[in-house]
């Protein structure tokens, strides 16, 4: 290492000063992610169930939704909701724009995951439910869906982990979360290396924590069956 006027000195103090804000940002990332996860899982369940309904229409509409949202970038979706919709008279706050785009994007993946799960449940289960006198809706609710969720769980877990990482994109429209806070601090104190490094560590903690949690949930789910 040559030390000259341009030599960079790593400064722990910059991290310590920024850490309280970064942790708050991480808290907001968790908050946004959890709300988006709950909504995206519910929407995915409903749409996947709908895609199994009789007739061509429900299936086609769900398919169209899934393909459109899966095959276009989340960033463009966020921009359409936040910058595009006001042109049509719908003005949403950064929070609602970011949240709805995240939910719609993740729900498309969840729908596909649940649909695959539903279709992996053996045909005999439907027949057994019907012969036990359950209506199609009851069969779905008590027999098919619980098995499908179990089959779909690992893939669902991946979707949820992606959601946490994808939530960083909402910083681009000014929604405050970990990425936004990291930008905010480092553009002010120019300690970009330390602050982005610290933010990366916080994301790693969140993501590995969630992965661990999902692993535990999967073990319980398997034991429950």
């Amino acid at each position: 290492m040559t030390s000259g006027p341009t030599a960079y000195s790593f400064e722990w103090a910059a991290i310590w000063r920024g850490l309280p804000y970064l942790i708050q940002g991480a808290g907001l990332t968790v908050f946004i992610s959890v709300i988006a996860m709950v909504l995206a899982v519910l929407l995915g369940l409903v749409l996947a169930a709908l895609s199994q309904a009789p007739g061509r229409w429900p299936r086609g509409v769900v398919r169209g939704y899934v393909e459109i949202f899966r095959n276009t970038p989340l960033l463009i979706q966020i921009f359409i909701v936040y910058f595009g919709l006001p042109q049509l008279g719908f003005r949403l706050s950064p929070f609602l724009s970011g949240l709805s785009a995240l939910v719609l994007y993740a729900a498309a993946y969840n729908t596909e995951t649940f649909r695959a799960g539903l279709e992996a449940v053996p045909r005999g289960q439907h027949d057994a439910a019907a012969s036990a006198g359950l209506t199609p809706l009851q069969a779905m609710r008590f027999v098919i869906a619980p098995q499908a969720v179990r089959i779909a769980f690992p893939a669902l877990g991946n979707n949820l982990v992606s959601l946490v990482k994808n939530s960083s994109l909402v910083s681009t429209i000014g929604m405050v979360e970990l990425m936004f806070v990291a930008n905010d601090i480092s553009f002010n104190n120019f300690r970009t290396f330390e602050i982005y490094g610290a933010a990366a560590v916080l994301y790693v903690i969140l993501v590995l924590g969630l992965t661990r949690l999902l692993g535990l949930a999967e073990v319980r789910l398997v034991r429950a069956s």
């Binding site: 459109i68 990482k165 681009t172 120019f190 970009t192 993501v207 590995l208």
Partner: protein, 213 residues
């Protein structure tokens, strides 16, 4: 409508840049990722373990943060990288670690007996991977790998945030001139769709073929 037609050539130029960038990243990232993914199975326990952890950690960091770290963070150390190479570097790293994960999944799905059989006919580790394990695993990796490529094409849009010219940046520049964000972003989304939809279909077909006996 005329607005859309007038801005289409510019957007298509952006799309071309998106495709070129995607191909470069997929090329570099896949080559390194396959290498890394296979190296995870080396017989030296500590190396395999360390690589596994490095991949796990790198995968947990959002791509946007990786890009900002390389573009805004590294100059603090005196490493100044222009926007385009910075974006390509960040995305290639991302592609590398995610490909390595796909490779791990593929190799782990090969029955243990194949490894033992390869060993028992006297193959070394490299020959075993090269001639026995990897060729079988490739088939199983294909659906997730194509899925990964689709995600990468979509994620090249993040490069626009640090100012790289590609489809999303072209859309932003067009909007700055015309102020019609809804239509222009919709057209950009449609162009992404045209690129990504065939890939998604390909992944689905590969998946279906895998489950057919």
């Amino acid at each position: 409508m005329t607005l859309i037609l007038e801005s289409l050539p510019y957007l298509l130029r952006g799309a071309l840049s998106t495709v070129v960038m995607s191909l470069a990243v997929i090329g570099v990232g896949t080559a390194l990722g396959v290498l890394l993914g296979v190296l995870r199975f080396v017989p030296w326990r500590w190396l395999a373990e360390a690589l596994g952890w490095a991949i796990e950690l790198a995968r947990a960091v959002p791509l946007l943060l990786l890009m900002f770290f390389i573009f805004f963070g590294l100059p603090a150390l005196g490493v100044r990288i222009p926007t385009y190479p910075a974006a390509v570097l960040a995305m290639s790293l991302w592609m590398m670690v995610n490909t390595a994960e796909v490779v791990r999944g593929g190799i782990q799905s090969i029955p243990k007996g194949q490894f033992e059989a390869a060993r028992s006919v006297g193959l070394g580790w490299l020959a075993m991977m090269r001639y026995v394990i990897f060729p079988q695993a490739v088939r199983r990796m294909l659906p997730s790998f194509v899925g990964l490529c689709t995600i990468l094409v979509k994620d090249t849009s993040l490069a626009a945030i640090i100012g790289v010219f590609e489809l999303t940046r072209a859309a932003q520049e067009t909007i700055e001139r015309t102020l019609r964000s809804f239509e222009i972003y919709l057209v950009a989304a449609a162009i992404y769709f045209v690129i990504c939809f065939p890939l998604t279909q390909l992944a689905q077909r590969a998946e279906a073929r895998l489950h057919r006996p």
